[in-house]
């Protein structure tokens, strides 16, 4: 499970060009990590690709923190 969290964080670092130390589970993509609306779309696309899952637009809207991204991925992989 922690493996998923690591992979999500790695993608966040790559996509948003931030330091790994900034990517805490509580970090908010827009407020804390400086993502704009297009960044968040790209982030979701990258997560879909990495984990081979589909994230609907509705679900994507609710993913605003690193923790939420990790939880969503875990849930969709379990399901």
């Amino acid at each position: 499970m922690s493996n998923i969290a690591e992979r999500v964080k790695k993608i966040v670092v790559e996509q948003l060009g931030v330091e790994a130390s900034q990517v805490t589970e509580e970090a908010n993509f827009v407020e804390d990590l400086g993502a704009d609306s297009l960044d968040t779309v790209e982030l979701v696309m990258a997560l879909e690709e990495e984990f081979g899952c589909e994230i609907s637009d509705d679900a994507a809207e609710k993913i605003v923190t690193v923790k939420q991204a990790i939880e969503f991925i875990k849930k969709s992989l379990d399901g």
């Binding site: 704009d36 297009l38 790209e42 696309m45």
Partner: protein
């Protein structure tokens, strides 16, 4: 634009075919999309003589599955899409009071909705690559209006607004979205005009002649080039002085 991958819709005849040939001459690998089954093969043969890796897909731009398949196969073959030229377009002229709903829908679907769909599909690879050139073929009448063409004019004006919005959304990813607005160009579409109408048009063109598809192709190639990277949301008029933005 050596080795750039360029999708051109409506590429088997008229302006689209000449655009495709021109991009091929500049070194691009061209992906032709057209619903004209025989002519698209003729066009492909002509273009492969210039750019051997070029490809063609027979597809109706109003069919979402057809477009999806074409984009998928393009990515599979080339791994990238650098340039999209949305050129496919039709006319179904009538005075508005007599215009059928079917003719309205058909023109909007071919000329505008297909551009939304295809642009949406190519944005993903372009955003990833941090590079893209999208050129939409509008028309002078999209800016001036034209009696008997409310459907066509609405679609062509729509392209200009669409281009500006997408240009704003994607500028930060090094993707440019522009329009070329041809005036009266000698193609089958304008051949269909009656001689009287043609004469009336010519009398309004300061340069006194219709444009050639090559005139349009040069403008498209410019906006599709790397060098035009700081130009976005713009409409380039190619009309012999008929209308000056």
């Amino acid at each position: 634009m050596q080795d750039r991958v360029a999708i051109v819709t409506g590429a088997s005849s008229g302006i689209g075919r000449v655009v495709a040939i021109h991009l091929a001459k500049l070194g691009a690998r061209v992906v032709l999309i057209s619903n004209e089954s025989i002519r698209i093969l003729e066009a492909l043969e002509e273009i492969r003589a210039i750019s051997p890796e070029s490809e063609a897909f027979e597809a109706d731009v109003t069919s979402l599955p057809c477009l999806e398949e074409s984009v998928k196969l393009t990515i599979e073959k080339f791994g990238r899409i650098d340039i999209l030229v949305n050129n496919a377009g039709i006319t179904r002229d009538a005075l508005l009071i007599r215009m059928s709903h079917a003719d309205w829908d058909r023109v909007l679907n071919v000329n505008l909705t297909s551009v939304f769909r295809l642009t949406r599909m190519v944005l993903k690879p372009m955003m990833k690559a941090r590079y893209g050139r999208i050129v939409n073929i509008s028309s002078v009448v999209g800016v001036t209006g034209n009696p008997g063409q409310a459907n066509y004019v609405a679609s062509k004006a729509g392209l200009i607004g669409f281009s500006k919005s997408v240009a704003l959304e994607t500028a930060s990813r090094n993707i440019t979205v522009n329009c070329v607005a041809p005036g009266f160009i000698a193609t089958a579409m304008t051949d269909a005009l009656n001689p009287k109408a043609k004469e009336a048009i010519l009398s309004r063109i300061p340069m006194g002649t219709m444009g050639s598809p090559e005139d349009v192709a040069h403008a498209v190639a410019f906006l599709a080039s790397e060098q035009a990277g700081y130009i976005t949301g713009e409409t380039l008029h190619v009309n012999g002085g008929l209308y000056m933005g």
